[in-house]
């Protein structure tokens, strides 16, 4: 089964060594040169364009350089434009994508350090808002109440459980795959949400971060909501939000988002395992006869 091996690649427990293998440079320096030069060019172009902002009432569509970078990267990689332009395959062969995958983790280190420098000075504000930080983790369960009925309306069966249980970053993917198996309907469902997040999550949350203040929810609460368990989605969300809001200083938006993201990372596994999975199974049992037409 091809799916099996690829799920294992992305899960936490397996391939601790295999995951880093593409970073070996011995005998592969030409691929490395291509990968890193390509990223350098993408970064220079994205930063040269800079942040663009289009106002939409009190909110704004904010396009920060990282959003161009992900789109340029997606377009250049071997399955997109490369599939049609053979010359491009010389510049960005499959090996470039393979090297890029573990490079994401290496690249996260400077971002993590910058987040530390943002979180620490807000230390006392964060301690003060502690109860809100802890309880909003339960707000992540909102996905079950919104996405499960829609999944059932679309005619999905047990796939709906995997798809709607959480935003499905790596820990959830691991839990659902463990509980139900990678080829189960639940496993396919969780894979759908995981992959959609990987492909579109950054763009989605980047745009949402700029528009969310239109709802009237306080910017601090929105900052916390940006911490959804993925470093890149959280960064896109909070950076866009910080551009738009004036009531809360930029540093505080970024630090609240980063803190919430860390908490999601720490508590997420337990919330999914002990709250979300039992809850969605219960709701599925109640709702599927009504909406899904299951007997």
């Amino acid at each position: 089964m091809p799916e099996n091996s690829s799920i294992d690649d992305s899960s936490e427990e397996t391939g601790e060594n295999g995951r880093w293998d593409p970073l070996r440079t011995a005998g592969r320096w030409s691929f490395h040169l291509k990968a890193h030069l390509l990223v350098l060019v993408i970064v220079v172009i994205a930063e040269a364009i800079g942040t663009l902002e289009y106002s939409v009432g009190p909110g704004a569509v904010v396009i920060i350089p990282m959003l161009y970078a992900v789109v340029f990267g997606m377009l250049l990689s071997y399955r997109a434009l490369g599939a049609y332009i053979t010359q491009l395959q010389q510049v960005a062969p499959k090996e470039v994508s393979v090297i890029s995958s573990p490079m994401i983790i290496v690249c996260l280190m400077p971002l993590g350090v910058k987040y530390g420098t943002l979180v620490a000075p807000s230390f006392w504000e964060i301690v003060g808002a502690g109860p809100a930080f802890l309880l909003q983790e339960l707000g992540n369960l909102g996905t079950i109440f919104i996405a499960l009925p829609i999944a059932l309306l679309l005619g999905l069966k047990r796939e709906a459980i995997g798809a709607a249980v959480s935003i499905a970053r790596e820990p959830t993917l691991g839990i659902i795959t463990d509980l139900y198996g990678p080829d189960s309907p639940e496993g396919i469902g969780v894979l759908g949400t995981y992959l959609t997040g990987t492909l579109l999550g950054t763009l989605f949350f980047g745009l949402l971060g700029g528009l969310a203040p239109l709802t009237g929810i306080h910017p601090l609460a929105l900052s916390m909501a940006c911490g959804i368990g993925s470093a890149s989605m959280m960064t896109a969300c909070s950076a866009s939000l910080a551009q738009v809001v004036t009531a809360v200083p930029e540093e505080q938006v970024l630090s609240f988002a980063a803190t919430s993201n860390l908490l999601t990372g720490l508590t997420g596994v337990y919330v999914v395992l002990f709250v979300a999975v039992p809850l969605i199974n219960k709701l599925y049992a109640i709702m599927s006869p009504i909406i899904g037409g299951e007997q």
């Binding site: 990223v39 983790i105 290496v106 909102g142 894979l191 969300c237």
Partner: protein, 152 residues
Amino acid sequence: MERTAFTLNALKMLIIVGIIILVGNQVGYGVNILAALPGMAIILAIGLVSLILAQEIPLKLPAFAYAIFIATLLALPFSPTQDIFLQFTDRINFLATATPILAYAGLSISLQMDRLKQVGWKLVLVAVFVFFGTFFGSAIVAHIVLSLQGII
């Protein structure tokens, strides 16, 4: 990958990332590469330690968490290191550190395209509602609790 090889490879890759960020930081935010260099050296050192800790400590915490944790300790209001640490790292713009991540992420996405086609459009649509639900679920709870606490 054994320990020395891992450390060496991680260091090489961190230096590459550091150079890319420094160039982006100059192009996008007008910070001189040489002026930002000492701060980048500190950041890369913390990054290397974090990658190694994630490998060695059997807690299954991502290296990213160690990087945030170490930098937080160094930058806390009551840390003697706060002033000097922030003074150097402030020269590297926050957004400049995020752009290369997404460039690599974009390039790597092709690896997963086949599987996405396999799962179908309905699951993609459901995922979008999952995104909305997660975000606004958290935002509404946080808004209520912050109001009750009198913070907002």
